[in-house]
């Protein structure tokens, strides 16, 4: 297992180099002089020259990339053009908020999505199944930011039960996490339904039933346990969607996370922060996929990576 984790971590290196290349050339794709863009329209020629030297833009492109890689390896993501604070500090300050939202949303999505999929698979082609299927279809088609706005209208404006935005208490977490969860609950329900339909028709499920076990024991201990691998995979993959959704959800609820940071930085054309935040999002996505691979072993003892 340890060897597997090391191998898996090493296999991340080419992807990380790819990401770094993508982000490096992103800044070079900017129309005009990147130093001018970073310095702003009002900057003097001396300021532009200083930024050019700081960024190493006066050196050959391969040297620039190698120096960029070396800075990345030291977790030096540069300084914010707006606040002049190190980007890594800005990211660290916001990361816990995004993680709190993501974990709350994914837990909520599993809490509702998995039972909905199981119930749907246990009564296929009945009204319950059609209801879950239709709800899933609506869930995957719904703009997450619109749902967030509608929840604010109902629960904050009309009923006045929950705060419309901000942070500070557990009540503040409810609406943003429900909004974000809606983004992934539909996918989890659909995947659970289709895998449960397969496992419920397997021989071991028939055997469990013929032994006289109660239906809920058959479903939970035999069918669901064997359906968990694809479900966990889809939960891991949906984490990426969730990060994308976090950008919109955090904007709706003025939630001070990484998503809000990236939008503010784009609006202010603060490229070092944009690059840094996107890099961290990419890293998080890769790490979640690694965690999913490790979870496989814990869920299914038949899987051996050694």
């Amino acid at each position: 297992m340890f060897n597997f984790i090391i191998k898996r971590l090493l296999s991340m290196i080419p992807v990380l180099i790819g990401i770094s290349l993508l982000l490096f050339f992103m800044l070079r794709m900017l129309p005009g002089d990147p130093a001018q863009v970073l310095a702003g329209q009002m900057a003097s020629p001396e300021e532009i020259e200083t930024i050019r030297r700081q960024l190493g833009l006066d050196r050959p492109i391969y040297e620039q990339y190698l120096s960029y890689l070396s800075r990345l390896a030291h977790l030096d993501l540069g300084r914010s053009a707006r606040t002049q604070n190190p980007v890594i500090e800005e990211v660290w300050a916001r990361l816990p908020n995004t993680m709190l939202l993501a974990v709350a949303a994914i837990s909520m999505a599993c809490l509702f999505g998995i039972p909905a999929g199981v119930i749907s698979a246990m009564r296929p082609y009945t009204w319950v199944d059609y209801l879950v299927t239709m709800a899933s279809l609506f869930g995957t088609s719904m703009p997450v930011f619109w749902l967030g706005i509608m929840l604010v209208v109902v629960f904050s404006v009309i009923l006045r039960w929950l705060p419309a935005g901000g942070t500070g208490s557990w009540q503040h977490v409810i609406l943003p996490s429900v909004t974000l969860a809606s983004f992934v609950v539909a996918f989890i329900a659909r995947m659970t339904r289709s895998t449960m339909l397969e496992t419920l028709n397997q021989d071991y499920t028939t055997t469990a039933r013929s032994k006289g076990l109660k239906e809920n024991v058959v479903v939970i201990k035999h069918a669901l346990k064997n359906a968990l691998i694809p479900i966990v995979t889809v939960v891991g993959l949906q984490f990426g969607l969730l990060l994308g959704g976090a950008v919109l959800t955090e904007t709706v609820f003025a939630w001070p996370g990484l998503g809000r940071l990236i939008v503010d930085s784009i609006l202010a054309r603060d490229y070092p922060v944009i690059q840094g935040t996107i890099l961290i999002f990419g890293l998080l996505y890769i790490l979640v996929n690694l965690a999913v691979d490790i979870l496989y072993v814990l869920i299914d003892p038949r899987i051996r990576y050694d």
């Binding site: 290349l21 794709m29 279809l137 997450v144 930011f145 619109w146 404006v157 990426g240 609006l267 999002f281």
Partner: protein
């Protein structure tokens, strides 16, 4: 695996080129009520987009402050926005923008992704390795974030929104087409063409491309729904289509400031997005089921 391949659509579909295959496909699609509903909804959107100048009186972008934030009434069935513009009129004109973006996005995705997928799958070796590693790096970012990153560089506007979202969809097309080419290139007719001395370019164009069109069609329908969602998201954040162009996401973005006084301003553009995306998803699911050999009549 991409959505279009997950149910076995990715296979040599030469049977669909025959009349019987095509008839069976049409029959399956017609019997799928959900897909039919999606198709009808899509036709309504298309008609609204094409006939917008006839359906909407006056300029949908011109402000009329004396009518600001009016609630729905017989004169204005969906009410008016903060500048007194008809929400219904702007939703109808918004259909033009959203459908245009959806078409533009898939055009970019197809134009870049399909040739790269064809070359990667057909030639293999170092070319395949290079294209696939680049695809891996792009797939390390969730699609919306990639589009967000690109639009931050290219700038706001309809054209840049199309390009950014289109590029974010390229990896999906590359993977889909490559997977299909790997299946098709082993077919006898490809070997026969190669043995007859046909050039690689001609084999790709005449023999392989027509046989990967089915999964591409399914993926295109599903991608259009995603494109509308992404474009609305960018518009909502203020970095996509810019006001006063009527775009559903942009409308929602400005409606956010009036939630306490006029929640109807935010309700209807969101419904328009939901139904448009739903119609593409229903049609895409229907196409996939109709093209799936395991789904019998």
């Amino acid at each position: 695996m991409t959505e279009a391949t997950e149910k076995g659509v990715c296979r040599p579909p030469h049977e669909f080129s025959t009349d019987t295959g095509l008839r069976r496909f049409c029959l399956k699609l017609r019997r799928n009520k959900a897909a039919l509903a999606g198709g009808v909804m899509l036709l309504i959107y298309l008609a609204a987009a094409l006939l917008a100048p006839l359906l909407v009186q006056g300029d949908a972008a011109a402000p009329n402050l004396s009518m600001a934030l009016e609630t729905p009434s017989p004169q204005e069935p969906l009410g008016t926005d903060e500048l007194g513009r008809s929400i219904l009129g702007r939703i109808i004109y918004g259909a033009r923008v959203s459908l245009l973006i959806a078409v533009g996005v898939v055009a970019v995705g197809l134009f870049i992704g399909v040739p790269l997928g064809l070359v990667s799958g057909y030639f293999g070796g170092k070319i395949d390795f290079g294209i696939q590693r680049a695809t891996d790096a792009m797939l390390a970012f969730p699609g919306f974030l990639l589009a967000l990153a690109l639009v931050s560089v290219l700038g706001a506007g309809i054209k840049n929104t199309m390009i950014s979202i289109g590029i974010s969809m390229v990896p999906q097309y590359i993977r889909l087409v490559r997977a299909c080419v790997l299946t098709v290139r082993a077919e006898v007719y490809v070997e026969a063409a190669r043995a007859a001395g046909t050039r690689d370019g001609m084999i790709l164009w005449r023999h392989i491309l027509p046989n990967v069109m089915v999964p591409i069609t399914v993926q295109t329908s599903l991608s259009m729904g995603t494109a509308i969602l992404f474009a609305a998201g960018l518009g909502f954040l203020g970095i996509g289509v810019q006001p006063p162009t009527p775009e559903w996401g942009t409308m929602l973005g400005s409606a956010r400031n009036y939630l306490f006084h006029a929640p109807h301003v935010a309700t209807f553009p969101g419904l328009a997005i939901l139904l448009a995306v739903l119609s593409f998803n229903l049609l895409g699911d229907g196409l996939r089921d109709a093209l799936d050999p395991r789904f019998k009549l």
